[in-house]
């Protein structure tokens, strides 16, 4: 039996889906929170957010989230190829988000391997990896909401024009 106030989409989510979303949030926080500007611009001063000012904790959240995401990714890949309900427009958007996520996750892994595992990697290589990590993280974290919004707008426009509704990302 469905509870009235819970949106339909939540019923479709499995525990693995929620954990994956949690891991993605953890990775995003890991990227934003690892830079000193996060503290500079009062983000860590917001009520209830002071814990985000702890660099070690943010690093540990980043690593834990990366492990959780790495554990869930094989299952996500299988699920992605099993899903046939998406319409063409949304499929392109989902694919784009997946590509951005793949880049982001590769950046996270490179960053962790380069600086978090005590390997003797030349400093200029670490610098390049840091720059890649910055770029792919910003692309995913800023790009995903934009792609998602574009999907919602497309649905609204089509609704107005009387075109059959897409399922939404």
């Amino acid at each position: 039996m469905k509870l009235k106030k819970i949106p339909d989409i939540l019923y479709r989510f499995t525990l693995a889906d929620f954990l994956f979303i949690l891991a993605v949030f953890g990775l995003a926080l890991g990227w934003i929170g690892h830079m000193p500007v996060f503290k500079r611009y009062y983000l860590a001063d917001l009520p209830g957010m002071t814990w985000t000012g702890d660099y070690m904790l943010i690093n540990e959240i980043n690593l834990a989230s990366a492990s959780l995401a790495a554990f869930l990714i094989p299952q996500r890949i299988i699920k992605y190829y099993n899903e046939k309900h998406r319409t063409d427009g949304n499929h392109a958007r989902v694919r784009l988000i997946n590509i951005l996520f793949a880049g982001f996750f590769a950046g996270v892994l490179m960053k962790i391997i380069a600086t978090g595992m005590g390997l003797n990697i030349p400093r200029n290589v670490i610098f390049i990896i840091d720059m890649i990590y910055m770029t792919v993280s910003a692309s995913f974290i800023l790009g995903t909401p934009m792609i998602w919004l574009s999907g919602k707008i497309a649905v609204k426009v089509k609704d107005k024009a009387g075109i059959k509704k897409e399922s939404g990302i």
């Binding site: 690093n59 690593l63 959780l68 790495a70 600086t115 978090g116 990896i129 840091d130």
Partner: protein, 325 residues
Amino acid sequence: MNISRKDFLKKSALGAGIAALSLSSAADASENSELATLIDLRKCIGCEACVYACQEANAHKYPEPAKPFPKMYPERVKVSDWSDKRDVTDRLTPYNWLYIQRTQVEHDGKTIEVCAPRRCMHCQEPPCAHLCPFGAAHKQANGATTIDPDICLGGAKCNAVCPWNIPQRQTGVGPYLDIAPSYMGNGVMYKCDRCVDRLDKGQLPACIEACPEGVQKIGPRDHIADEARRAAKEEGAYIYGLEENGGTNTIYVSAVPFEKMNNAIASGQGNPHMDKVASVMKKSNILASALIIAPFAGAAASLLRIGDKIKKYIGETRNETEKNT
């Protein structure tokens, strides 16, 4: 840039004085060993020859800030300017990477004055390097941790995560000036680089070479650690730095317990403590190991689920075939 342990030993064979470990023992050391220094506080007389030698040898690396400094936003971001206080020698600053920490300690019924040369500990697992967002702080193959002034933006994260708050900031220098000086970055962080350029040339670090009392030694870490342990066992000395923060490449030996020294130190920014330090990177290292296992575990779990589904499908098909026959 990096001098290997082997190169160091070869080159220092020519120039090493009493400060270096005996080369025969060093040659026996394992190939993977990092270089560490042993600082014997029982010998230090606090003359500061090492402090001035450090300043002279590293003067060319000191910041020459452009003034006036860019206005900082938000206003709570303060500039750190030591450029007019270059002669400060009683704490760590961007212009003073080594200082003598003087303490008076009551021990065995006597008052003992201890002089401790303090600088970067060159941790084996340096959080400053592991957590630097731009890869400016970096651990060299020889065990020293350095900060590249051409990359560092002066956000001071290294200072925040360092258990001893060693790196010190100077505003008005570095690449932040070319990016968004008012809104991002605040200069460059400075600290002892264990005379990376001198080691490259096969010379000893300046502070080690200048000391008239032979307080410091540099050599493969396993030998330095053995020597510290021997002093503890045979001479009743106390050790600091061997286990701190999971192990450092700066190991102190003292006649008085470090706990007592720590209680006598007015520690704070630029005045590092001598307290026990648990490994800062320990949890992160465990999580990093989990990350190595996670994708394999995830793939195995997925395969098991697929296997279950296939089994179920075969079972259902067989049941249906049996029903139909």
